[in-house]
């Protein structure tokens, strides 16, 4: 668990980078810290492992106030990965992954086993252990960076734009792979990003920063449906519309004006169908309205192009919030009657 309370950071010279941020990343959760460049998100990350001294407030990592902790031993308990990867060019892949275990004085055999384990976990072929960083592609280097951060099995991980310098296809693949790893290891992770798509894809929680302040913190659904400030709404931008289409179930886009009795014939969707699929099917069928069947009559209704537009246009005018359909299987989107 990472707990920040009223954290302030003023640089020598007076620039206020962080102005009173309180944020908790629960045990085992992945929180994406996002905001425009210069908003203080990287500064905040570097305060947590004492790469920068705190100006005010308090930070607790795994229950212990970092103020009283030795910086070096604190950092050994926190996995750290950065965008530039920072692999050590004079060390092989295996040696790079083994850095923290070696610093911690592990036995040689235990280190070798751990390196092999991490390489298979991050999808690196065993033969790569003897390669040097300059012989790796960007994606491979990033995998090594992640493996290295995980090496001593730290309970907490800090990652600064870990997938930032990659092409979109590789980035998505590594994001998915990291999520799969996270699903097994349940680390407490704070990821800095400037990419809303990455935040929505990876975050259990999202924290949005601007000018050193926390604008909003919540689950992706909370932030998509109820942007707390105009800035958050603007920052979500176009991304928000697409993310809503892809992530929200069609039951959230029901048109209140249609009585259940006046069901249009033709298309029908299961309640947990993503809005995106419903919209595509409606466009393909050239219809303006379709029936939504729910589990039990209550969640059913009618979805129209107008109600979808209303959902996209505003977080508040939408229908009353329902719990975002919890990972139901993506059943066949559209069924003709």
């Amino acid at each position: 668990m990472i707990e920040l309370s009223e954290v302030h950071k003023t640089y020598p010279g007076g620039a206020e980078a962080v102005r009173g941020v309180s944020l908790t990343v629960p045990q085992g959760a992945l929180c994406v810290l996002i905001g425009p460049s210069g908003c203080g998100k990287t500064t905040l990350l570097r305060l947590i492992n004492k790469l920068l001294p705190l100006s005010g407030g308090a930070i607790r990592v795994a229950g212990r106030d970092i103020a009283g902790e030795d910086a070096v031993s604190l950092r050994r308990r926190i996995g750290y990965a950065i965008q530039q990867v920072g692999l050590f060019p004079h060390m092989t892949v295996g040696e790079n992954i083994a850095v923290v275990p070696a610093l911690e004085g592990w036995e040689r055999r235990r280190i070798q086993e751990r390196v092999a384990e991490l390489m298979s976990l991050t999808g690196l072929p065993p033969g790569y252990a003897a390669r040097y960083p300059r012989e790796l592609s960007g994606g491979e280097a990033q995998r090594v960076g992640v493996a290295r951060a995980l090496a001593a099995d730290p309970p907490v991980m800090l990652m600064d734009e870990p997938f930032g310098a990659l092409d979109p296809v590789t980035r998505e693949r590594l994001q998915d792979e990291f999520l799969a790893i996270q699903g097994r290891l349940h680390k407490t992770v704070l990821v800095v990003s400037h990419d809303m798509d990455e935040a929505l894809r990876m975050g259990d929680r999202i924290a949005i920063m601007r000018d050193g302040r926390l604008e909003q913190e919540g689950t992706p659904a909370e932030i998509l449906l109820h942007p707390a400030t105009p800035f958050v709404r603007e920052f979500l931008g176009v991304e928000r519309a697409f993310a809503q289409l892809a992530r929200l179930p069609v039951t959230m886009a029901l048109d209140a004006k249609w009585a259940a009795a006046a069901e249009p014939a033709g298309l029908s969707f299961a309640g947990n169908t993503p809005v995106k699929e419903a919209l595509l099917a409606m466009a393909a069928g050239n219809v303006r309205a379709a029936r939504v069947t729910g589990e039990g009559e209550r969640s059913g209704g009618v979805v129209t192009l107008r109600s979808i537009a209303a959902l996209l246009g505003s977080g508040r005018k939408g229908p009353p919030e329902r719990p975002a359909a919890a990972a139901g299987e993506k059943s066949a989107g559209a069924e003709s009657e």
Partner: protein, 242 residues
Amino acid sequence: MNRRTDRLAAWAGAAVAVLLLWAAYAAGLLGYLLTEPGEVLRLLGQHVVLVLTSGATAVTLGLGLGIAISRAPLRRLAYPVIAGVSLGQTVPSLALLALIFALVRTIGFFPAYLALTLVTLLPIVRNTYQGLLGVDRDILEAGRGMGMSARQILWRLELPNALGAIFAGIRTALVINVGSAALAFLIGGGGLGDLIFSGIDTRRNDILIAGALPTVILALAVDWLLGRLERVVVSRGIRADG
């Protein structure tokens, strides 16, 4: 490409050297070398001792100074130190010898050793300093973030990554050192300079050659040995020819 052109150059060099040696022999220039090998070896020994002692001192001192002035608290000393040390190289070696001689007021091994150390220092200090500063900041940031102490960062990250630059400095410095050691004779420091200057004074080219030829071979040998050592010590991950 590297390996093949290297080998070709080596063979070409060897062929030229053999040709020159033969020409020298035919012209009677190897006379002294062939008749007095004992004397040549004795002076070569003195020369080697001068090079080894002053070289070892300069490497130790140069590495220490270069590391010291690259540490944050001392970095403002970097400019004055490098400027000071470069005096050792910009002042002509001969003038430096005279200066040292005037300062220590003795002749023999010691003033020669002192002057040679000074001459050799600059490239080592400068390359160590610049090599350390040239190490990618992201690497050091990553090391710090992973929990390395300042000392561990120096020994495990900075020095291994600066080693290429440091070795280049040491090679340059020691080759200059071998050449400059020929001047030690002028203040009684001995070495192969004895033969070179005697040869000039007595217009005996075969004596001159008996001093100059081993000096050249010594310089080439030092450079070659350090090149070998570099291949062993510098990681393949950062070598230009890796």
